[in-house]
């Protein structure tokens, strides 16, 4: 299992569009990718569940990857977060 922490810098937080892109990105890996915030957890592939976390700007999230390609997945996810959120 691999994980990293990230503080959201996007003005609106994890809003609909990046949540959708995040789901797309997470689906490209066989590993299970989860995102944890405000004491709640959601699978990154699930757009609505991720939005339900209600993550705002400045909130810290924990991204976890677990599975065969977790090493690649975690690096790519970190790059994704930095670019989009």
């Amino acid at each position: 299992m691999k994980q990293f922490n990230y503080v959201i810098t996007d003005e609106i937080g994890i809003h609909a569009r990046p949540a959708g892109l995040l789901a797309k990105e997470a689906k490209t890996f066989s590993s299970k990718i989860t995102i944890e915030a405000n004491g709640k957890k959601a699978e990154a592939t699930k757009l609505m569940a991720v939005m339900q976390l209600g993550v705002k700007k400045g909130a810290e999230v924990v991204i976890t990857a677990e599975g065969d390609d977790e090493d690649v997945a975690i690096v790519k996810m970190e790059a994704f977060m930095k670019e989009n959120l």
């Binding site: 937080g13 609909a16 699930k46 757009l47 609505m48 569940a49 939005m51 339900q52 209600g54 705002k56």
Partner: protein, 540 residues
Amino acid sequence: MEQLKGKSIFSGIAIGRILFYSKNQQQVKRNKVDDVETELARYEDAKIKAIEQLQELYTKAVEEVGETNAMIFEVHSMMLEDDDYNESVYNIIRTEGVNAEYAVAVTGDNFSTMFAEMEDEYFKARSVDVKDISERVISILTGNEETEGIGEEPVIVVAEDLAPSETVQMDKSKLLAFVTHLGSSNSHTAILARTMSIPALIGIEISKDWNGKMAIVDGKQGLLFVDPDVGVLEHYMEERKVEETQKELLLQLKGQPDITKDGKHIHLFANIGSVADVANVLANDASGIGLFRSEFLYLEKDTYPTEDEQFQVYKTVVQNMAGKKVVIRTLDIGADKQVDYFEMEHEENPAMGYRAIRICLDRVEIFKTQLRALYRASAFGTISIMFPMIISVDEVRQIKRICDEVKQELDDINVSYGEVELGIMIETPAAVMISDMLAKEVDFFSIGTNDLTQYTLAIDRQNAKLDNIYDAHHPAILRMIQMVIDNGHKENCWVGICGELGADTTLTESFIRMGIDELSVSPSMVLSIRNIIVNMNVGE
């Protein structure tokens, strides 16, 4: 005549008949089905068709309202592909053995309620999106896709609420105004109304009986008149005529350079107070931003904004302005703008107190944080930095030293930055009197006429009793402006006006003849000022 008051989303006047727009309230029945597999397949087909429709809507919206506003339809198709949403539909069909319409309706209600119960306004508003996509799929399933279209005659559309997909589908040439009961000023529909420049009101108790009746929408005052009296109607027809001539005239000026008939080029810029205003700057075709008040970054927070937070904001603005000049004024708080976490002492006379650059030179770390963010953002466009409330050459030299330190620090960590012009606000009589000395130190002057007038005439602008003697056109002010322009030009400084006087159309010609290089006004005034510039001669 009925008169109602709501909240205005976009000003302007519309006169016409009302079309009461009601959604095909989908009466979804729960039916038992024998063949569950067929229902699952029906749902899959409908979903694919819905996604196709959304892609078409996206393309249409990109053309009509731009990519940013069209994004909502891309999000809608992403939502339709959400695993949890789909699982829920499949589950209901399978476990209850029911029709796809019913499964979608229940799923849509559940998800939309979950969003509606969230605390944050943004996420709360997404419940409308979930409803919208669910209704789309249900319409496809029931084959009930015809919505009540707009006829030949242009109408005022009145509805309980409008989904973004509904607004975009309407024929714009037949739309006079929107009036809705629900909706917020930040909803997508509100944003679309603004982008399309259509008068719009929200928060009005609507009635079905209005369908087909004559009405007036006054977007300036947020008023709706149904069955207006003749007098009211005549009054608004007159107002609309004035508005239309004005609008047509101004539209012709879009894209035109700000050059007088005899060839003098004026930099016509806009004033902004937040990132959201940039859209207005571009819509009104200003050729740059002459005053970006950075205070909002501090005023809207409970603690000091970090360097990164500020950097993101400045970067967004310069990137959106795509190379055009952006003049950002450093922190100008104190006086009438107070921030709790700065923990400032109570002052008897805050207008003449601890404010603006005086705070920055005293609490250098706060100042440096902002400067670092500004220099970093300068790598992404054209930034000029402007310092407020200057009264001495020494202050300017201190500022320049601090800027040099900031640049050195960035060099040390290999962070790049662009060419940055440094300038000052001329808003104290002292700065005017030593403008010849100050001009040797900086690249530009921007005259802040509001404070300059208050300090020169010794009149507190907040004091209503003195309104009758507060003369913005006082010869003292006009002479000061002339002096600043002349002293600036001797040292190759460009000189602009960013105070309210800059947007005073009765003075535009005089300012240009006096030699002003730049005028920065509120976005909505840009085209009116351009109208004067392109029709005047400097040497008349």
